[in-house]
């Protein structure tokens, strides 16, 4: 097991909480909005790569300066700035859910600065025939049903309790506010689909087979839109396969990274 280090990085005067671990080629993992933590999957990836999990602007630990962030473009520029601050050269980029959306927006603009792309149940596409769940309208049990293949597993109950634990209330509120800023009701960029051709990178698209939040049509659309991409459905997982099926995800991601 690799244990992660937690540090604060200054990016253009703002504090960014960064979790990092492992050695090797750099891999940035952009977290989902529900579990802004170092996860077992990160440990697995850190056995071969140097893994960076920066906490998104607005989430607990990176909330300072959040008022400057209005659009997805601001987040992309923020991550370019972070790469410069960390002196990362052509990192591999992975993102899950909301983090996958940021990764996709980054990749359509600056794919030459990346080595390869992994998208896990990414938000971001507007597909009117396959709408995404309105997660910010749901209570704990409703959210678990939407996010997990097994909503009442210990894993799911730990990630999304019925009512937030007292020590987690502020973190939960901050995370929901940050998500709402960019993803209120329609977590998408209507223009993303038509620019996917700009992703000139090897890409791996992973999608939970029991996905109730972002329909698998979105995964297929990412796959169709990105020329050099492969798609894999993850059995026994919903919207968060990196949590619910972390071993399976780790294997697929590591084998993809080795050949990319």
């Amino acid at each position: 097991m690799t244990s992660c280090k937690e540090e604060i990085v200054k990016v253009r005067g703002r504090n960014v909480k960064l979790l990092r671990g492992g050695e090797g080629m750099p891999l940035i993992f952009l977290h989902d909005p529900f579990c802004p933590n170092w996860l077992p999957l990160h440990d697995r990836l850190a056995s071969e790569y140097e893994v960076f999990v920066p906490i998104h602007p607005g989430f607990a630990g990176s909330e300072n300066g959040f008022e400057q962030f209005e659009t997805m473009e601001d987040l992309v520029v923020h991550y370019l700035d972070l790469c410069e601050a960390l002196k990362l050269d052509r990192p591999a980029l992975a993102g899950a859910s909301f983090g996958g959306w940021i990764a996709a927006e980054w990749a359509i603009r600056y794919s030459e600065r990346l080595r390869c792309l992994v998208l896990i149940d990414a938000l971001g596409l507007r597909l009117p025939a396959a709408p995404v769940a309105d997660v910010l309208s749901l209570d704990g049990p409703g959210l678990r049903r939407t996010l997990f293949a097994e909503p009442n597993s210990p894993l799911a109950l730990e990630a999304i309790p019925d009512t937030p634990r007292v020590d987690a209330i502020v973190g939960t509120i901050l995370g929901r506010r940050a998500l709402a800023r960019f993803a209120w009701q329609f977590p998408d960029d209507p223009r993303l689909l038509r620019y996917l051709y700009r992703v000139r990178l090897p890409a791996l698209i992973l999608w939970g087979e029991c996905e109730e939040c972002v329909p698998s049509a979105h995964g297929r659309a990412f796959h169709d839109g990105i020329a050099d991409s492969e798609f894999a459905a993850i059995a026994g997982a919903g919207h968060l396969p990196h949590l619910e099926a972390s071993e399976e995800c780790a294997k697929l991601i590591l084998s993809f990274l080795r050949k990319s």
Partner: protein, 381 residues
């Protein structure tokens, strides 16, 4: 202006009377007489000598039938004679063109020769779901829209507005408001501290909303507002504190409770029903306020009350004979220091004859006794 015809099992089957409550429950055939009855009651208030009649704005809800408060105020403008038209208020952040609010209020103010009081609100969390306004911008949009409206009323146009949320090259409203410098501003609130601080700085009137909580929590809100005024460098005026509350007057205490209670439960259990997610969307309220409210408000809202004793003793409403109602109002006014009473006479699905009787008894037997303690009375439906 509650929708009075929800089925008995509504609260069992639906988790909210807002945003997603199926509008198949709305029947325009029943809605026509209902609208006109509520408007009749507000006109009656004018005839009975109430100082004001109030309307408000909510969307996509059985709670009230006034998505446009300005339309309701327009209906009342030429059929009332002396009462102020209190619009409590327009939900500013919902609108991409705040000038529309400035224009409509100015129209009403000129038509009524200055009888308009303009309320401005951030709005409930539910409205941000209904209108898809990003709740993380709620406060900023509210303040910028307010500043723009005040400037549109008080500065000779044309001028341009280059703000964060609003940008207009030409602001130049016609008509300008009748009242100078502009209609009085009342801000209703449900206890959020940042609202109270701002209202105190602006020297506006703060109205403690009736749905907030028990008497004690609401008294604390009023007290905090007074402290905010002191912090802003002046003593709060009685007329700056509005006290919203449900009132019902009947011949005796027993009759009052018997007539009122079932309709109160219809209101509390059905119409106030909402989900915490709808009520507090992210960013709508500051983190400090949300943490406090999460503990306080959602536990103690009337929809969670179960017995009349709790409702009565905690002072959610004032129900009784004229003498009982007078005593309690004087007691409350003495302890809170409010000089404005915003009485809600219509509750839930109470029939017209009850509401009218209650208003008449109040006007005849209670209101005259409140005048010596300098209390103005407005009514809302």
């Amino acid at each position: 202006m509650p929708w009075a015809y929800l089925p008995e099992d509504f609260a069992q089957k639906h988790n909210s009377a807002w945003v997603t409550a199926p509008n198949s429950f709305y029947d325009p055939e029943l809605g026509h007489p209902l609208y006109n009855r509520y408007l009749d009651e507000l006109e009656l208030a004018d005839q009975l000598g109430f100082d004001g009649v109030c309307v408000n704005e909510h969307h996509q809800t059985a709670y009230g039938g006034m998505p446009s408060p300005n339309i309701m105020a327009a209906c009342l403008a030429r059929r009332t004679k002396q009462a102020k038209l209190v619009i409590l208020g327009n939900v500013l952040p919902l609108y991409d063109h705040p000038q529309r609010v400035a224009e409509e209020i100015a129209m009403l103010d000129v038509i009524t020769k200055g009888r308009v009081i303009s309320g401005m609100v951030v709005g409930t969390g539910m409205e941000y779901f209904s209108y898809r306004i990003n709740p993380t911008h709620a406060r900023e949009r509210f303040h910028e829209a307010h500043d723009l409206i005040i400037k549109a009323w008080t500065t000779e146009g044309p001028f341009s507005w280059d703000g964060t949320h609003y940008r207009f090259r030409y602001v130049n409203i016609w008509p300008r408001p009748y009242q100078r410098p502009h209609p009085p501003i009342w801000i209703p609130g449900s206890g959020s501290s940042e609202t109270m601080e701002w209202v105190a700085q602006q020297k506006y009137t703060y109205m403690v909303l009736p749905t907030l909580a028990s008497f004690e929590l609401r008294r604390q809100a009023a007290e905090y507002f007074s402290q905010c005024c002191a912090k802003a460098g002046y003593s709060v005026r009685h007329a700056q504190i509005g006290w919203g509350i449900g009132i019902y007057v009947s011949e005796t205490d027993e009759a009052a409770r018997r007539e009122y209670e079932p309709h109160y439960w219809y209101y509390a259990r059905n119409l106030l029903k909402t989900t915490p997610q709808q009520a507090l969307p992210p960013g709508h309220t500051s983190i400090a306020s949300v943490t406090g409210m999460m503990k306080r408000r959602l536990e103690s809202r009337p929809s969670n009350l179960s017995t009349w004793k709790e409702v009565d003793e905690a002072g959610y409403v004032i129900v009784g004979s004229p003498e009982t109602v007078r005593q309690r109002l004087e007691d409350y006014a003495g302890r809170v220091g409010f000089g404005l009473l915003i009485a809600n006479f219509s509750v839930g699905n109470a029939p017209r004859e009850y509401t009218e009787k209650s208003m008449r008894l109040f006007a005849e037997k209670v209101m005259p006794k409140l005048r010596p303690i300098n209390m103005d009375v407005a009514t809302m439906m």
